[in-house]
């Protein structure tokens, strides 16, 4: 990918207060040149505030935003030269598709011939070739989304911002657009900052995910690391389904649950209290026909006895809610193929739930 097509973004100490509430609390974040970074968080976490600050639509109380070597914090939005896809698409209703896409080119004094060519190219890229003459109200939601996208990258910005661009689409289209956006990003090579509250979307599309909570970054890392090694309870709880169980810490720093040893306390620990994070799909039951294959030869799994509370069928997967000894409730997710015996479990059945020790995630307790 061409090196001049993207710019890194350096954010330092960015702070924005709304009344007494910190929407952004001294946020430091380096976004690498050409990467797809997703700001992920619940509503009100500050992710949109951060994106709007990068675009220049709100005025932070303090901090620095650099695009490459250039300080941007005082630059008005129309001089920042970043592309943006709005949640509402923000297409100009009094212009045709082609006029919408040509708008940023006209402002940049691109000649009419080149403008025409670039609009056509952009339309081809988003698979809307030949629809340039259409009016916005003649387009479906998915088509509008593509026009908004084309308009955002047609002037070759080196930074592309997207504010929940797929949230108005139905599930099937959304999932297809996620793949298309990912491909488009690879093709354009532009630094992309994407805002969503949908963790699956973040996991699907991102090079890295920045998880935001209460105006602070909770963790910034690759999707795999965020999922497999959440840094704290908030990330563990927010990303994926999870059951969080308290661990017992004995005097020698060994962590156990219900009397079964899990692992040693991390060496550099400053905490004493630890919790076990369990992903439902990493648990298995003795009733599952493929269960023995999941045993790790060098590692006997944790075995938790319990009683089935509910068995819920959801199509491609199903889950069983099990109340384990000690009163905690865990959910065990499994595929619904014909091999699985777990589908026959009834409430009240006695089962054993297994977890390989290598799948055990240990996090400090209460650190949200």
């Amino acid at each position: 990918m061409p090196t001049d097509s993207a710019l890194p973004i350096y954010i330092n100490g960015l702070t924005k207060k709304y009344g007494e509430l910190f929407a952004l609390d001294a946020v430091d974040l380096n976004i690498r040149s050409g990467e797809f970074l997703t700001l992920l968080g619940p509503s009100g976490s500050g992710k949109t505030t951060l994106l709007m600050a990068i675009a220049g639509f709100n005025r932070p109380d303090a901090g620095s935003i650099q695009f490459g070597d250039t300080e941007m914090i005082l630059t008005p939005p129309h001089k920042r030269d970043v592309g943006m896809v709005f949640q509402s698409y923000a297409l100009f209703p009094h212009m045709t598709v082609a006029q919408n896409i040509a708008f940023p080119l006209k402002l940049r004094k691109v000649t009419e011939a080149e403008r025409h060519q670039r609009v056509e190219e952009a339309l081809e890229t988003v698979q809307l070739g030949g629809l340039g003459h259409r009016h916005i109200d003649q387009l479906s939601g998915g088509q509008r989304q593509r026009v908004a996208l084309a308009r955002a990258f047609v002037f070759k910005p080196r930074i592309l911002l997207m504010d929940e661009p797929l949230s108005a689409l139905d599930k099937k289209l959304r999932e297809r657009m996620q793949i298309e956006l990912k491909q488009l990003h690879r093709q354009l090579g532009v630094t992309t900052v994407y805002v969503t509250h949908d963790q699956r979307e973040a996991l699907t599309m991102s090079d890295r995910i920045a998880v935001i909570s209460d105006g602070k970054l909770a963790q910034v890392d690759t999707p795999q690391t965020i999922y497999n090694h959440p840094a704290n309870g908030f990330v563990a709880d927010f990303i994926g389904e999870s059951t969080i169980l308290p661990l017992n810490n004995d005097s020698s720093g060994q962590l156990s649950f219900n009397g079964q040893h899990v692992q040693s306390q991390p060496a550099d620990a400053t905490h004493r209290d630890w919790s076990l994070v369990i992903r439902p799909e990493r648990l298995y039951l003795s009733e599952m026909s493929d269960a023995p294959g999941r045993h790790n030869a060098t590692d006997t799994p944790l075995a938790l006895d319990g009683i089935v509370k509910e068995n819920v069928f959801q199509g491609e997967t199903a889950f069983v809610l099990v109340t384990i000894d000690g009163g905690h409730e865990v959910s065990v997710r499994f595929g619904t193929g014909s091999m699985s015996q777990a589908g026959h479990l009834q409430p009240g059945d006695v089962v054993t739930v297994y977890l390989n020790r290598s799948d055990a995630i240990v996090i400090p307790t209460g650190d949200h």
């Binding site: 675009a55 220049g56 639509f57 008005p76 939005p77 129309h78 001089k79 920042r80 030269d81 970043v82 592309g83 943006m84 709005f86 949640q87 509402s88 923000a90 297409l91 100009f92 209703p93 009094h94 708008f103 940023p104 402002l107 940049r108 308009r151 002037f155």
Partner: protein
């Protein structure tokens, strides 16, 4: 057979009953319109074709073509109406823009300020302007006190006074539809425009203004059409020097007691107004401007 006709008669009957009920609800309104619009206007048409001797005649319309004075009255009416509309746009557009930018709570307060004169009597407001604008009125006294001008300026009993008074009274008719149209402009559009590289001025002229245009056209038309038939304010503040169709009709009735001539003026004004609305409707696709997106 029964599979597709079960209860079909009863269901159809129920639907018909609902339609009759709806029609029944509209009957009082239809009756009122018949009584206060259709019959009087029909009567007006009839009178305009009746001469002094009670016979059918075209003389009233012939006079309008023959005498230059009628032509001047219509020309003046259109001139005053267009000027008033322009003044309303110049004052009302920034005002509506300001209101549309305010948070809902403040917008409500300022909207009240716009509407308050709307709720006071037309006659009271007109005479209030007479007091303010007259030779020894507050405005002249104040302007002379601060040295703006030395001798009292004639602000009333002429075109100036008429325009001031009419613009003031007509302003809410422009501001309300315009504010409504501006409120519907998505704020994201202005952000998108800035994001794509447009300066605030370019964003305004290329995005905001075109999108507010339907509201402005709707408001302007309401103002213009109301001005065409306006009587009280031109009569009081014009002091007889600003002759519009409505004041002319009154003077014909008062001086000559000629119902036919007065009616024919009314008929021509009505037709002119309808023509303006039809043409504007064609040019600006008025139905979307007045009643929102179809």
């Amino acid at each position: 057979m029964t599979a597709r006709s079960l209860n079909s008669t009863a269901l159809k009957q129920q639907e018909r009953m609902e339609q009759w009920t709806l029609l029944g609800l509209a009957i009082p309104a239809i009756f009122v319109i018949l009584l206060v619009v259709i019959i009087p206007v029909g009567w007006l048409f009839y009178l305009s074709f009746i001469g002094d001797n009670g016979q059918f005649t075209l003389e009233h319309y012939q006079k309008m073509v023959e005498y230059k004075s009628y032509y001047r009255v219509f020309l003046n009416t259109f001139k005053v109406s267009i000027l008033t509309t322009l003044i309303c746009i110049v004052i009302g557009y920034p005002m509506a823009y300001f209101l549309a930018q305010l948070p809902a709570r403040w917008a409500g307060f300022f909207m009240l300020a716009v509407l308050l004169p709307f709720w006071t009597s037309l006659l009271v407001r007109t005479y209030a302007w007479l007091v303010l604008l007259q030779r020894k009125g507050i405005l002249n006294e104040f302007a002379m006190d601060i040295g703006l001008w030395e001798k009292p300026v004639k602000l009333v009993h002429n075109l100036t006074g008429t325009l001031i008074g009419m613009a003031h009274i007509m302003l809410p008719f422009l501001v309300l539809p315009l504010y409504n149209a501006m409120k519907k402009i998505d704020r994201d559009l202005m952000q998108a425009s800035a994001n794509l590289g447009a300066s605030p001025a370019k964003s305004f002229w290329q995005i905001y203004f075109p999108l507010s245009l339907p509201g402005m056209v709707a408001g302007s038309l309401i103002v213009f059409v109301l001005c065409l038939g306006f009587y009280v304010t031109p009569a009081v503040l014009g002091g007889g020097r600003v002759v519009m169709v409505a004041t002319q009709i009154t003077s014909i009735l008062e001086n000559q007691f000629n119902w036919g001539a007065a009616s024919s003026l009314g008929v021509v004004l009505l037709i002119a107004t309808v023509l303006v609305l039809i043409i504007a409707g064609r040019v600006f696709k008025l139905d979307t401007a007045l009643f929102g997106k179809g």
